[in-house]
Amino acid sequence: MADLKVNIGKLELKNPVITASGTFGYGEEYSDFIDLNRLGGIIVKGTTLHPREGNSYPRMTETPSGMLNTVGLQNKGVDYFIEKIYPRIRHIDTAIIVNVSGSTVEEYTATAEKLASLENIPAIELNISCPNVKKGGMAFGTSCSGAGSVISAVKKVFPKTLIVKLSPNVTDIAEIAKVAEAEGADSISLINTLLGMAVNAETHRPVLSTITGGLSGPAIKPVALRMVWQVYKTVKIPIIGLGGIMNDTDAVEFLLAGATAIQIGTANFIDPQVTIKVIDGLNTYLDRHNIKSITELTGSLII
């Protein structure tokens, strides 16, 4: 049994396998299938200051080795989370991280401030990369000034571990990562979805209600790996890598490219037990390669 513990800022995770926001509900949805206590962390659904109904149906379509979604941050707002959901999930023995979104800097800070008081929420993940909302969202994540302003403001009100989730829809991901680090992010997670689109050739209509949506799944893995690698060469804070991870081999690839931990998103839809399989698989992998601690893998790509 190798040591799977990793540190993300002040936060120690029992293993590097975290569930990605928007793909794992509040964890409860998966409790029939796996022991949630075994996870390294759970990142819950994108949460905003006010309740949001999200976008209209249709919200998703399958693509080659992936899917497009345009959920649009449907959630009941941070107060509902704190009152109704948090009490139900706070006792899960894993790091419960809230993914925070907003349309303005003030919305981000107000949400983060409310979450700061919750004992069993050791970290938040700032989503400055959602492609499926009209205002804010990805706009913050695709410019350095946008990213900088949100992060520095949130940092002031949220003293615990601050993870910033970056958008891949940029010319230079390393540049944005550098700003995030400079403004006080404790960790960077990447990637969010690639902006994509689907068309129905028979009806001549876009498949998604919002025309474009976010592409996830194995299709984007090569792009995600590349960005993790680029960011790893640029910043010192730990990176959480994600994008198309389907199994332990994929997870190892992200660690080698520079990730300290990984998230699993879309794969949960195909196999609700995938997270546990990846944890077990990482263990086996480390033993087989005679590696004592998983932290040794991070960035150890031989070039």
């Binding site: 928007g22 509900g25 029939d32 919200r59 399958e62 899917m67 949960n268 195909i270 196999d271 609700p272």
Partner: protein, 257 residues
């Protein structure tokens, strides 16, 4: 209700027509309780499909420990399953969703299935029959050649038929059937099929003051309430079809009809 993920073995595959087939899967454990109208998410690995495919539970045989599906070939996944051989295993998450509203003092119900929409109605029909409900099942297909399952529905009540080409029963669409002129004889309508059909039925149901439930087939990524992709607009806001449905009372839906 607890959800299960199991590898079920294909024990029977029956080609009904060029387009339709039956697939019977056996659990090596004993089956949990399954309600009429619930569905399953089937993983199709090693093919060009990516996500699981949702299919209504067509029938359940607790003695043989099997569930079956009535499938229409429309694309890659349904074609793949049409070619699967008995003996193979499929990874299935089930039972999912809430199923049909099963009230106790129901006397007379109308079941309406359009095309493959009849899939969830067989198990429902037997369930209602066993509870003493008098049922009529109206099946609408394009042509008489399309379907060979009618006899099964006859076990549980009257069967009415419409075909678009007039090759059997009433000619035209489901809603053209004369039964809709005496709709108030029924206490409840259960229906599944294309959206346009269900909306037309919903309209008639409202006009006649008959309670009506529809089973939606919104596209789904997870099937378990985690992704929020499958929503339909309700009077209480967007609700997941996979967990709050797939069956909804039309009173609850914000349908433009």
């Amino acid at each position: 209700m607890r959800k299960y993920i199991q590898n079920l073995q294909v024990v029977n595959k029956q080609i009904l027509s060029e387009e339709y087939y039956l697939l019977e899967l056996k659990s090596l454990q004993s089956l949990p309780e399954i309600l009429p109208g619930q569905f399953a998410e089937i993983a199709i690995t090693g093919s060009a499909t990516f996500l699981r495919r949702p299919l209504s539970i067509h029938d359940v045989d607790y003695d043989r420990n099997t569930i079956s599906f009535l499938v229409q070939i429309v694309g890659k996944g349904t074609k793949y399953l049409a070619n699967i051989e008995p003996g193979k295993f499929l990874n299935v998450i089930f039972p999912l969703g809430k199923g049909f509203g099963l009230i106790n003092n129901l006397e007379k119900a109308l079941l309406v299935g359009g095309g493959c929409g009849i899939a969830p109605l067989l198990y429902l029909a037997r369930h209602l029959y066993n509870k003493g409900v008098s049922i009529s099942t109206l099946i609408g297909v394009r042509s008489s050649m399309q379907f060979i399952e009618v006899d099964k529905y006859k076990l549980y009540g009257k069967v009415l038929i419409t075909t678009e080409d007039g090759s059997e029963g009433t000619t035209g669409f489901v809603v053209n059937h004369p039964v809709f002129e005496q709709l108030s004889q029924f206490k409840k309508i259960y229906t599944c099929g294309p959206d346009v059909m269900m909306k037309a039925i919903a309209k008639k149901a409202i006009a006649s003051g008959v309670d009506c439930e529809v089973s939606l087939e919104n596209s789904m990524a997870c099937g378990i309430g985690a992704c929020l992709c499958c929503v339909t607009e309700t009077i209480e806001g967007n609700k997941c079809v996979c967990t709050e449905g797939p069956v909804f009372n039309i009173k609850y839906l914000k349908w433009q009809i």
